[in-house]
């Protein structure tokens, strides 16, 4: 195997477009529902964020809605107004936000990107599109039922695993269907090189059902005792990021960066080394969420060691991506896909190195229990993963619908409002979180003073959230135009500016 094998893609444009055409229904199903959940998740995020500096914000339905519902009695039960008012409480919208963005947006987009990449990289038309689309429908039904359950008071109260069993079961079935399909695709691939993106996708599709089943069965069905259940909870919570979102995000980065700039990945060996070291270390990280918690020291220590070891796969991958990009950074000026994906890949390096530092006990004891952690998770799931998904969708959708994105300006607005929004949000949460953590250690500062001192950061966070919202609405609108066949039918791809012009 050569150290710089070219992307194992097809030279024949006709074959490529036949593969893209075969992906059309399932991939668009996943993308459209993902973007819908992104909008819903953004609304929950704004509600939760504003409630943290203004607790009286939208505590009940608008009077008009209540009046209409009351008129519909007895067709609508009398207690429905109370139930709906309850669903607007912080304790409900906060988990609804996490679950709609993690399972509704991020996972659904990840599956969409993953199946398209599998078809392209296996170099065969997507097999059983009806089966894959059915998995998408079941998946969305699971997210809908689970989120409804949280809003109406059936949350399990386990972070990242709030959905009750009937919803998790649907998600598991849908996920397993995609995994089985991926193996089938892999077995029927055209002979030749297996690209690094395929390892990441296959691994993620293998790990996640195991992870998800273990956590749900032991926490919700076997009801393992307290502290053992807590470590399983965070082993799951961290691996959802590390062994599901990260591999799919990296698979996309490994595909789109070389693809857009038109040169192979810098080093096959760095790719392989980065992959296997990630597989080995990431899965052990979960315990760093419980530093100082009621657990034996060895569990925590093992996780701290593995978290620090994560520097290896992260730096290796960063070097590999950087060396691939070297000499081609000017392409960022005109390719939307590349700009989103490179922004994401750089954020991956930053988020991961920050994560390793946060596992160190002395820093962790300050940042734990504060907004600093929230900033870190947004750096990971948003600045890294979500931005890469945006870039991937900008590349894939025109190939599925047969027309180009309507407007470079809309993409520009999307990029800049999200880029500024997330950078500012992470900064605000990081500084606010550090202050919160440092004040918390000083018993002479009363809890009331801490709440008052960090209030301004919570206001800033809502403002940055508005920036993200603008980006999401513009993106969803642009996507809707594409789905409705209102894309640009003629001309080359939609670029920020034409590469020929200075």
């Amino acid at each position: 195997m050569s150290t710089s094998s070219p992307l194992p893609d097809l030279n024949d444009a006709a074959d490529r477009s036949a593969i893209d055409a075969s992906c059309r229904l399932p991939v668009l199903t996943f993308f459209a529902t993902a973007i819908l959940w992104l909008l819903i998740g953004t609304i929950f995020a704004l509600l939760a964020s504003v409630k943290l500096h203004n607790p009286q914000f939208v505590t009940e339905l608008p009077p008009g809605v209540t009046w209409v519902l009351n008129q519909l009695y007895p067709a609508v039960p009398a207690n429905i107004v109370d139930a709906l008012n309850g669903s607007l409480t912080f304790g409900r919208v906060r988990p609804a936000h996490l679950n709609t963005v993690a399972y509704g947006w991020a996972s659904t987009a990840a599956i969409g990107v993953g199946i398209w990449l599998m078809a392209r990289l296996c170099r065969v038309q997507l097999r059983h599109p009806g089966f894959v689309t059915a998995a998408g429908v079941i998946w969305n039904l699971g997210v809908l039922l689970g989120t409804g359950a949280i809003l109406f008071g059936e949350s399990t109260g386990v972070e990242w695993l709030e959905y009750p069993p009937y919803a998790t079961f649907l998600l598991f079935i849908a996920y397993a269907m995609i995994s089985v399909w991926a193996v089938d695709m892999f077995v029927h691939r055209r002979p030749g090189h297996v690209y690094v993106s395929q390892w990441y996708i296959m691994a993620a599709l293998f790990w996640f059902p195991w992870l998800y089943a273990t956590a749900n069965i032991l926490i919700h069905h076997q009801e393992v005792q307290g502290s053992a259940s807590a470590i399983i909870n965070w082993w799951y919570g961290h691996n959802a990021l590390g062994l599901w979102f990260t591999p799919i995000g990296l698979a996309a980065a490994y595909y789109f960066i070389p693809k857009v700039i038109g040169r192979p990945v810098h080093s096959y060996y760095l790719s392989a080394f980065g992959f296997w070291s990630l597989a080995l270390f990431y899965s052990w990280n979960g315990g760093h969420h419980l530093i100082g918690g009621p657990l034996p020291a060895w569990v925590i220590t093992a996780s701290i060691v593995a978290s620090v070891m994560m520097i290896i796969p992260v730096v290796v991958t960063a070097i590999n991506h950087h060396m691939t990009m070297r000499g081609n950074f000017h392409v960022l000026e005109y390719s939307p896909t590349l700009r989103f994906v490179v922004f994401g890949a750089m954020s991956y390096t930053l988020a991961s190195l920050q994560g390793s530092s946060m596992a160190i006990r002395s820093l962790n004891t300050v940042t734990h229990f504060t907004d600093y952690t929230i900033g870190h998770s947004h750096l990971g799931l948003y600045a890294f993963f979500t931005m890469i998904m945006f870039g991937s969708i900008y590349y894939i959708v025109p190939r599925l619908v047969g027309s180009e994105w309507r407007s470079a300006t809309l993409i520009k607005i999307h990029f800049w409002s999200c880029a500024y929004g997330i950078v500012l949000m992470v900064l605000v949460l990081t500084v606010g979180g550090l202050m919160q953590g440092l004040m918390m250690r000083d018993a002479s500062i009363g809890f009331d003073k801490i709440v008052e001192n960090i209030a301004v950061y919570k206001v800033f966070r809502s403002v940055t959230g508005v920036l993200l919202t603008v980006g999401h609405v513009v993106f969803a609108f642009h996507f809707l135009l594409m789905i409705l066949g209102m894309g640009r039918a003629v001309g080359g791809p939609t670029l920020f500016r034409h590469p020929a012009k200075p």
């Binding site: 309850g86 409480t89 988990p95 949350s155 390892w199 470590i231």
Partner: protein
Amino acid sequence: MNRLPTLFIGFFATFLTAWLGLVIIPYFQFGQLEPQVDPDTGDQFPPAPTGLALRGAQVYRASGCIYCHSQQIRPADLQDGHNRGWGARRTVPRDYLYEKPPQLGTMRTGPDLTNVGVRLNDAAWHHEHLYAPQSKAAWSIMAPYKYLYTVRKIEGQPSPKALKLQPPYAPAEGYEVVPTPDAEALVAYLLSLNRNYALPEAPVE
């Protein structure tokens, strides 16, 4: 690495190590703990939760309390909570043996609740606080949990359970605010939160 079996053996082996290390071994090491029994009195620590408090733990979970409140006290060297009166000692695995799942939490937007039943032991205070947190602390950013309460017209005698709220949180003239069964269960659970007893592995200093 072009062959499926080779890849899958690698996927399996790497993940298996963590699965054994962070799931299976912990389950056998501290997943089957027993309560500590006082040989003289026969009292058990931690005390087994009883009916109403057990139901209240479910309300606590479903209401999302965990997103702002932790229930764990870290070791003294981390300057964690001991000096704020949140707990007399660090918490250990045995403290959570009845909790399936525990509500350890990852955020302290609000104070830690490990021992809230000790420092705030008045049920009426909790009801008023849950209904209108700012009536108890003007600086509080806690969400009002109004859906746990019913505002109703007073018919005959006012209910003895009615909340004694001051304006501007009091209901309109002729109305009263009474807790739902969920609210009563939640408050019973909060009052039951006390982990200040001594355990051999975690003495109270």
